[in-house]
Symmetry: C2
């Protein structure tokens, strides 16, 4: 059945182009304010209240490696990354559904561990687990979580709302999750070469936690509300800063300038990248999985966040014709490359 006359490999498109291709002719018939193309879909109700909906799929061997990823952490992270999509719309997650496909290698005790992590995240972020599905699978574990959130229509931050000259801001620091991933992969290789070896993870708590137990930035949504800032555009950093910059700029039909020296990188992340003879900036630009929030604000909000410890202004939006650029530490200006992690 797969011997079509013409066969196009999906890998030639990549995830984003595949989604664009499959969804380009979508018709919206109902109370859908925003469909495919943002962190979450937006469903509008009569009173101006909107529901936000986001779905993520995690596949064993593609998104996680159970040889070093504890199931409890996996459950927590699977919820966290979905909630992050709701926060990225400036909304509040309220419910999740969890669908699991499990091969027979998983015992009840293993599934209980996974759910322990799921419930822990639900408690921490005050979300209800309201449904789902559980099935057997032929191979490994697949987790599909849908998060449902709320926001008032006028508060929602889309990817496409930025204007030229607005400031580009990011929460927290970047590259840590990828550093943690590199560390775990390194220790796995050591273990495979010599099963008697003990993993050397000391002194790396921060980057390990960034990889194994990411926290979606609910606190940032609270802070922005207190500061009376509604971001003009927003996205969460799941694929890497460069990829997210491209999403904000292209969907807002703008250019953008990013300053390398401004990109916030934790010393632990920086030092570990250097230890591997790799460029820390690349960890931030292309590593992904940091689940920080990247957003734009009007210049009039500059003073509200200028000295705020949770925020860093890393660039600004430009006219479309000026392109998407990065000013390197040495002062050179070059085109930013989106080498986001891709699932294909």
């Amino acid at each position: 059945m797969f011997e079509n006359a013409s066969r196009t490999e999906i890998s030639t498109l990549g995830e984003f182009k595949l989604i664009d291709h499959l969804t380009k002719n979508i018709t919206l018939r109902n109370n859908t304010l925003k469909g495919v193309g943002d962190d979450a879909a937006v469903i509008e109700h009569e009173n101006g209240l909107c529901n936000l909906v986001s779905t993520d799929l995690l596949v064993e061997g593609v998104h996680f490696d159970l040889s070093y990823f504890p199931l409890k952490h996996l459950g927590y992270k699977a919820v966290a990354v979905n909630l992050s999509d709701i926060y990225a719309m400036n909304g509040r997650p309220k419910q999740i559904t969890v669908a699991l496909a499990l091969s027979s290698k998983f015992s009840l005790e293993a599934v209980e561990e996974l759910y322990e992590g799921i419930y822990l995240a639900c408690e921490k972020y005050q979300v209800d687990l309201v449904g789902g599905d559980t099935s057997t699978s032929k191979h490994g574990l697949t987790i599909c979580i849908t998060a449902i959130g709320e926001a008032n229509k006028e508060e929602i931050a889309y990817r496409n709302g930025a204007s030229a000259n607005e400031l580009l801001v990011v929460s927290g620091d970047l590259g840590g999750a990828y550093a943690g991933y590199q560390l775990l992969e390194r220790e796995k290789r050591v273990f495979l070469d010599n099963p008697a070896a003990q993993p050397d993870l000391t002194g790396h708590d921060y980057i390990l936690e960034r990889q194994l137990k990411p926290e979606p930035r609910k606190d940032i949504i609270d802070i922005l509300k207190n500061l009376q800032i509604i971001p003009t555009s927003m996205i969460d950093v799941s694929d890497g800063l460069a990829s997210e910059c491209f999403h904000l700029a292209s969907q807002s039909m703008l250019g953008l300038t990013l300053y390398e020296e401004k990109i916030p990188i934790d010393p632990t992340t920086y030092n570990f990248a250097r230890e591997l003879d790799l460029d820390p900036t690349l960890f931030a630009l292309s590593g992904g999985e940091d689940y920080e929030l990247l957003f734009t604000i009007n210049q009039s909000d500059f003073e509200k966040i200028e000295h705020h410890p949770d925020f860093t202004i890393i660039g600004h939006m430009n006219e479309l014709t000026e392109g998407i650029k990065m000013v390197s530490k040495s002062g050179n200006i070059h085109d930013l490359k989106a080498q986001g992690w891709t699932a294909f």
Copy 2:
């Protein structure tokens, strides 16, 4: 990591007990009116409007066999079974999200076929595809769809709302989807034995369509509204009539009597079961995948549906102490057995 001191195989519990076990201590914190345990979760809004949410996972090799299931039909069916869960709450589906994990055996053209079926179902049932996720997988195809619907709070039909002496009603006819499955499996075996053999599917259009292109019963929800009937309890027939009878009875804390001779079975289904020397009643009771609606109504609504061609009264609810019984065609009364199809 799976070498726990104690290891319990999931297969010893089955799907329903596993879900019960994992969700027994759930805390609901938000505007969730109904969480796990019905066809869909119910989220309440201020104005009495509710959202309904249901998630289903379909796994290649477990829920479908691509050697005879065309991808376009699979896409259609994946949407249909989710919408059925929303109709089973007496609600109206409005949006879906679609998450896919695809191995490299799937070409772009194959994925396009799958989406053709998805969009066809969206068009027919006037639903918006609003988001999702697309990922690679190591093995085969997994589809996770979440449907979001609407209903007014007072119209929602739960599984647990039935009372003793109410009438048990089913739409359409039962067992056809399982007959179609048996036919397709038979022809597959013939083909595997002799690859030159042509499948013999003539005269079996109805049961094939029941298996390959099930239609969720939106029309029944419309008819019930026109008849001014709100079912006191309702469920869709996904696992087989017996299993669904158990859900309605146990969740309503009642007994139930089912009359075998009343169970609606299409002649095509009946004849094909007989051809295989199998009991047509068993197809209806345990086959599943018919996606008809099983519901209870007050006796005062009897005359509204007595002669309606889309409905069959197949039994009635009893007090809990009377148990869950079937009166056979020969007049014997015995305990109904729930041998619902299980994913474990």
